[in-house]
Amino acid sequence: MPILDEKTKTEVKKILSPMQDVVTLKLFTQPFECGYCKDTHLLLDELAELNPKLKIEVNQFDTDIDEVSKHRIDKIPAIAIVGSKDYGIRFYGIPAGYEFSSLLNAILMVSTGIVKLAEETKAWLSKLDKPVHLQVFVTPTCPYCPPAVILAHALAYYSDKVSADMVEISEFPHLANKYSVQGVPRTVINESFYQEGAAPEAMLVAKIKESL
């Protein structure tokens, strides 16, 4: 049974029509012990049919060790959104529900190069010299989560120093424990600093500065 209905497909086609450069969705999957790998794979296959500039590359988490380590993938299902280079944009867990918008947003950003960030943020990112790892914890039913994910991905796109993960927390409950996540969205900065909620750009940037 198809995972996307016809109406959604028509809308996705329209949304993806401004695509410019080819975007490769690198899926990391495994045939066993992965609740949502199969559905995520199906979703990406259906998505790739909707725009010729969208490519899929399937990697096996247990055997394609080089690709796994090159992209620093540590859990599955994982999707790396790769354009002319790897910007460090990741989705861990199925990007369903409201996160489907975050996925399409990341694809469009990488494909068109259009990134919505304030000038001050861009200036600061250009000078950033330390690595920043953002993990945005979400659930698919959380309407406040996509802005947090999209912001983190925009920072990753603009700066080579920043990598940003969406993490669908219900698929990785051990991480909810590890980072004491009891509410979403929650952005973890470099393992030790936290930002609650869908914080405005300036607030997240201030928090990242504090962590450095």
Partner: protein, 326 residues
């Protein structure tokens, strides 16, 4: 079965002079956008979240919005309102408004990225959850304290949660939380409830929900994982008590989102004062929905406000354009 939500920012032109800029994409803003688009007004709606619908998106079920005899999901109703408005040409841009200049004849609405100009502005910024204002509350947001049951309820399977409040939100969201938690304890500081009788009946009959009255929550102590608790007291006898819970959901009313506008338009307890056409104290500026000073804040009243405001805005634009061409 998965659900896939598609919400996208329109590509906007900041050089355009808009007939109307709507700030906020909840039911009031979306309805005004629908009507304004049908009046063929050049309209832009600015919404800070990528998902339109405002507080509707954090409501599980809506069962008092006419036309839906079966309860409808808040998130679905919000999405449908957005789709309908867009089908008539409403542009929705995902940008956060940081400043406004409402007094001049041509208004300015400034976001993190653009400065937009418009002949009229409709403020539909709604309201946000009121905080309890007690020790520990802000420290534990996202780590045990929540203002959104549909967002954070699933974190409490087989746990005990407390709910602060005694109105419709507290009662309705308690029913949602009871699907996950083993026990939901409603703590209400008064002795009578503002919730509608039909919701009250359901809550009182629910085997997993306990309701306590005259309770003051004094502090939140969630640091020790093995002993997460609230310090509460009886507001009549002052008797103190420790209440072990894993989480606290707060539904104690709302505060209007009007900081951006104070000093430019007349407010009453933070809410925007309007006349019967929904116009504010400044010409060319309207308000609709929860942000307005009024008695009842519901989806049904918000859509009425939005439609009505759009009508008067359309009248105003006719006069405005006529004055400019003669």
């Amino acid at each position: 079965m998965f659900d896939f939500n598609l919400s996208f920012s329109a590509v906007v032109n900041a050089d355009e002079l808009y007939d109307l800029i709507i700030i906020g994409g909840g039911p009031a803003g979306l309805t005004a956008g629908l009507y304004a688009s049908r009046y063929k007004l050049k309209t832009l709606l600015l919404e800070k979240a990528i998902v339109s619908g405002g507080q509707l998106t954090s409501t599980e079920w809506v069962e008092n919005y006419p036309g839906f005899p079966e309860p409808i999901l808040g998130q679905k109703l919000a999405k449908d309102m957005e789709t309908q408005a867009k089908s008539f040409g409403l542009e929705i841009a995902v940008e956060t408004v940081t400043a406004v200049n409402l007094v001049p004849n041509i208004k300015e609405v400034i976001t993190e990225i653009n400065t937009f100009r418009a002949k009229t502005v409709l403020i539909a910024t709604g309201s946000s959850s009121r905080k309890l204002g007690i020790d520990g509350e802000l420290d534990y947001v996202g780590r045990g304290v929540s203002y959104c049951a549909t967002c954070d309820g699933p974190f409490y399977p087989d746990k005990v949660v407390a709910v602060a409040g005694g109105g419709n939100s507290a009662f309705e969201e308690s029913l949602f939380l009871a699907k996950y938690a083993t026990k939901v304890i409603i703590l209400h500081r008064g002795s009578t409830f503002k919730a509608d009788p039909i919701i009250k009946e359901r809550v009182f009959a629910h085997p997993k929900i306990e309701v306590r009255t005259d309770v003051q929550i004094n502090s939140i102590q969630f640091n020790d994982e093995s002993d997460r608790h609230l310090q509460i007291s009886d507001s009549k006898t002052n008797e103190k008590q420790k209440l072990n819970v894993d989480g606290l959901f707060v539904f104690v009313g709302s505060i209007p989102n009007t900081e951006l506008f104070s000093g430019q338009i007349e407010l009453e307890n933070g809410y925007i004062v309007t006349d019967r056409t929904h116009q504010c104290s400044v010409s060319g500026v309207w308000a609709a929905g929860d942000v307005q000073a009024k008695a009842l804040r519901q989806v049904a009243t918000a859509v009425g406000d939005g439609a009505c405001a759009a009508y008067w805005i359309h009248k105003y634009i006719e006069d405005f354009d006529h004055a400019r061409t003669t």
